[in-house]
Homo-oligomer: 175 residues x 4
Amino acid sequence: MKEALAIFANKGYHTSTIDEIARASGVAKGSVYNYFESKEILLRTLVFETLEETAEMMDPDHDGIVTVEEFFGMIRKSKKWLVENRDFLRLYFSVITQPKVLKMLEKDLWEIISPYIEKMKTFFKEHGFSDPETEVRFFYALLDGIEINYVLDPENFPLDKIEERVIRYYEGLLK
Amino acid sequence: MKEALAIFANKGYHTSTIDEIARASGVAKGSVYNYFESKEILLRTLVFETLEETAEMMDPDHDGIVTVEEFFGMIRKSKKWLVENRDFLRLYFSVITQPKVLKMLEKDLWEIISPYIEKMKTFFKEHGFSDPETEVRFFYALLDGIEINYVLDPENFPLDKIEERVIRYYEGLLK
Amino acid sequence: MKEALAIFANKGYHTSTIDEIARASGVAKGSVYNYFESKEILLRTLVFETLEETAEMMDPDHDGIVTVEEFFGMIRKSKKWLVENRDFLRLYFSVITQPKVLKMLEKDLWEIISPYIEKMKTFFKEHGFSDPETEVRFFYALLDGIEINYVLDPENFPLDKIEERVIRYYEGLLK
Amino acid sequence: MKEALAIFANKGYHTSTIDEIARASGVAKGSVYNYFESKEILLRTLVFETLEETAEMMDPDHDGIVTVEEFFGMIRKSKKWLVENRDFLRLYFSVITQPKVLKMLEKDLWEIISPYIEKMKTFFKEHGFSDPETEVRFFYALLDGIEINYVLDPENFPLDKIEERVIRYYEGLLK
DNA sequence: CATGAATGAGCGTTCATTCAT
DNA sequence: CATGAATGAACGCTCATTCAT
């Protein structure tokens, strides 16, 4: 799976071949099929496991209430993760923008993501935002936008400055 | 090209076939090759022409100075365009996140986009932002994030509310 | 036809396209079909006309009897023609060695060639060769071999010396 | 490869299809590509392997000196081989006369052939020929001419008589 | 008679998947 | 459970040929 991730991320799903992945992993092509029913399921498994790990790691709260510190902590953790997982994120974006693939993933993706959305909704609500629903969407849109811009041009995108910009912005809103 | 756009957008570049596009367009497979040297060039042409049109249409200023009204006008136009061009945008995102394809497009994309970035940089500078460079990046990241979220889930994404949210935010900053 | 010859000779029949030939000739693709029913017939016509011209030009005798001088004259003329028609000869060899094409040409080729064989048979017979039939075959095989060797490597094949070698050989036999 | 040879020889390289070769060989089309990277490489491999085998088999001398007996033996072996390998030879001639293909083969061909040319040059030199270089060229041109005439019309070409004719000729020269 | 856009059959090649060993 | 040869459906692309203008 490690090799598959690297290859999918660098060449794109359709342009990567099972043969390539097998060779890079040091196993025979046939062996890949002992672990994954199909190329699509390999991708799916790959994306999910990473996503679940990430989600867990990123969980801003482990007790049910998101504090302001946890909120900012999460933003900083996001950035760190982003830098360390460029490859995955590029793959992720390329996958979710492939209509067919999206369909196959979206239900499960939603299950991973929705609890976070709920928690953030509560967080914004408790800090006096009049439309927490929209606020969450706005917040995640902003993060997604930053991620995609970083992933597409990691050399030039001023990630640190943007991070500070985001934090200062929410500091203003949350105080 | 219209059919190609629809098909590429709905099925993804690699999953779409020339035969399909030809049939949908009511011409023979071979005829496609009278107009486009290859599948890749069809895609490229498609993306570029739409992008150039859009860029021109979206130009916030036609005199050299971006006013505050033009800035907000541009945001509103963006939203309108976004709604009307879901298909294209889905294709666009799926294309720029495909590593190989990106390489083939990036130089030319940059040529289309960079003038806008420059203008916006000047705009933010003249309105007293201390780091206009970062501000532009932040602004475009936000727009990209909104776009991608809308495109991936147009039914549920509260585009209107988000638009108002963005406008109110920049009103606060620009007054 | 001139352009077709050049192109067929340089790229081979199957690798050359009608489009290419039309463009090189300064006419439209469709026009080619006003003069030649098909690509194959263009080739056929080409080969034949050149072959007939050549045959006529090469005719060692115009009165029915081949003299020794005419015989040697013909050898010299052959060489001259060979140098001037490398292109055609390469095409010719590539064509007659293509089984399918051969079948389509062989009957007509034979009609062009056989009178010469007959004349040469008589020539050798009258000069005391015990097996004129074999002698003619030997003679033409020798010429063909020289031609093919020259055509395949015109820079290095010592055509002049070989010509002298052949002439001296037959001088020995014919005196 | 056996089937490929037969098919290439009988239909010509460009007119033969991989599908046909696969079917004749009793394997699937895709399997051909497990053994040969491309149609061109299949052809190349085919020609080379046969050529190398032949060259080795035809080697007139195994000790460094070509004797007169070995010389005549080689001519006789040539004839035998020629009769048994009509197919290959037809393919061979059709290949070397295809301009493009020639380019791709010529360097390697030369490496196979040139040692024989050298040996023959020495042979003719040691038997008192004033211009061994030309003599070798003449000799091989004669053989090539015979081969091509035989291959193009095996039913009628008097191969045995020609062989005797050649041998008698060189007996005259070498005594 | 010239044109060149349109056609579509056909081919080389790829690659996910299977399965006998 | 590992292997990798075999499979064949599928696709991009070519090009001889046609025909309406």
